[in-house]
């Protein structure tokens, strides 16, 4: 019995590989806070994903709770920050976008559903102060 030619197998797998490379994006940051985003039936898709910057708000992940406690914290990029660091974060994010796109920059607030509004209000006020006015409340689409 002749062996089945397996030379095209690699082509098939490469095809799969390219598909995933094109449709996905690299995971940039590691989550240090637990974020279970709330549901909203009217959630709309973010149009320009590359112009979004993310602010994560939630309780630290269990392995970090001994160090940081269980109060809700803000995570920017890869570390815990306070509201006063948002200004620098926004400035850095602005610089990383091309000049033409800067006005379309969206700040995506990914907050846990059990977070109290106090911390979010602080973040919003700080964003207003840095005039990053386009925001989006991350939420899951649900019917």
């Amino acid at each position: 019995m002749p062996a089945i030619t397996s030379s095209s197998l690699s082509d098939i797998v490469f095809m799969l590989l390219f598909f995933f490379m094109v449709t996905t994006q690299l995971r940039e940051t590691e989550n240090k806070v637990v974020v279970k985003i709330p549901q909203a039936s009217e959630a709309a898709k973010l149009e320009r994903k590359d112009l979004a910057s993310y602010i994560n708000i939630g309780t630290p992940i269990p392995s970090l709770q001994a160090q940081y406690g269980t109060d809700a914290r803000i995570q920017l990029n890869d570390s815990f920050k306070t509201t006063s660091d948002i200004r620098d974060f926004i400035a850095a994010e602005r610089d990383s976008k091309s000049e033409a796109d800067r006005s379309f920059m969206t700040v995506c607030i990914r907050a846990d559903q059990d977070v109290r509004m106090g911390i979010i209000t602080d973040v919003k006020q700080e964003l207003r102060r840095c005039s990053a006015l386009k925001i989006m409340y991350s939420s899951r689409k649900a019917e």
């Binding site: 690699s10 959630a43 898709k45 846990d112 006015l133 939420s139």
Partner: protein, 193 residues
């Protein structure tokens, strides 16, 4: 006679490709971001004198959420499920009630003169409000506006809002504006973080 070159054994390329594939599967995300888009009001100029914007009382509805996630719309406590209908009535004023917003006839490009509501929804929350409740209320407000837009586009074009062309959507947006203001933070009730 040329020497016959032996073929390179290619059976392992598939394995290499599989390894690469696994690497990309692990390190990338595919989920699309969804959410509710909002525009924050710009920070008031500190040099400017604080002047209360005189918005006619009938044109504004204040939706408050307290630290126990109870909702007050206008002057009465209300459940989230009823909020949408209340907002829709507020924004359309079907009975020409003098306590509801003015429907001002406005010239809309491409449609002619149509009544446009001057109503503004002002959303206030407490520091102790849970984010979930806040998003639920925001969602109801957006839903009310979206339904009104759907109704308006059915009336004007005979199609749902999402099926319209970009230009028509803009016209409908002018006809049914989304006026949600997130007020300056106020501390109401006792503080709870």
């Amino acid at each position: 006679m040329a020497k016959k070159t032996p073929a390179i054994n290619s059976s392992s390329t598939a394995d290499i490709a599989f390894l690469l594939l696994c690497y990309f599967l692990m390190t990338t995300t595919m989920g699309t971001q969804t959410g509710l888009s909002r525009r924050l009001p710009p920070m008031p100029d500190p040099n400017q004198k604080v002047e209360d914007q005189k918005v006619n009382r009938r044109n504004i509805i204040i939706v408050k959420i307290n630290s126990a996630d109870r909702i007050l719309a206008g002057s009465e406590p209300i459940d989230v499920s009823q909020l949408k209908d209340k907002i829709k009535i507020f924004l359309t004023n079907p009975t020409d009630d003098p306590s509801l917003p003015v429907m001002e006839p406005t010239e809309i490009e491409g449609l002619g003169t149509r009544p446009v509501s001057k109503g503004v929804i002002s959303l206030q929350n407490d520091r102790g409000t849970s984010y979930q409740a806040y998003i639920a209320v925001q969602n109801e407000l957006v839903k009310a506006v979206n339904e009104l837009r759907d109704e308006a586009s059915m009336r004007e074009y005979g199609r749902k809002y999402l099926a319209l062309t970009e230009e028509q959507q803009k016209t409908i947006k002018d006809l049914v504006p989304q006026q949600i203001s997130e007020a300056e933070p106020k501390d109401v009730g006792k503080r709870r973080r």
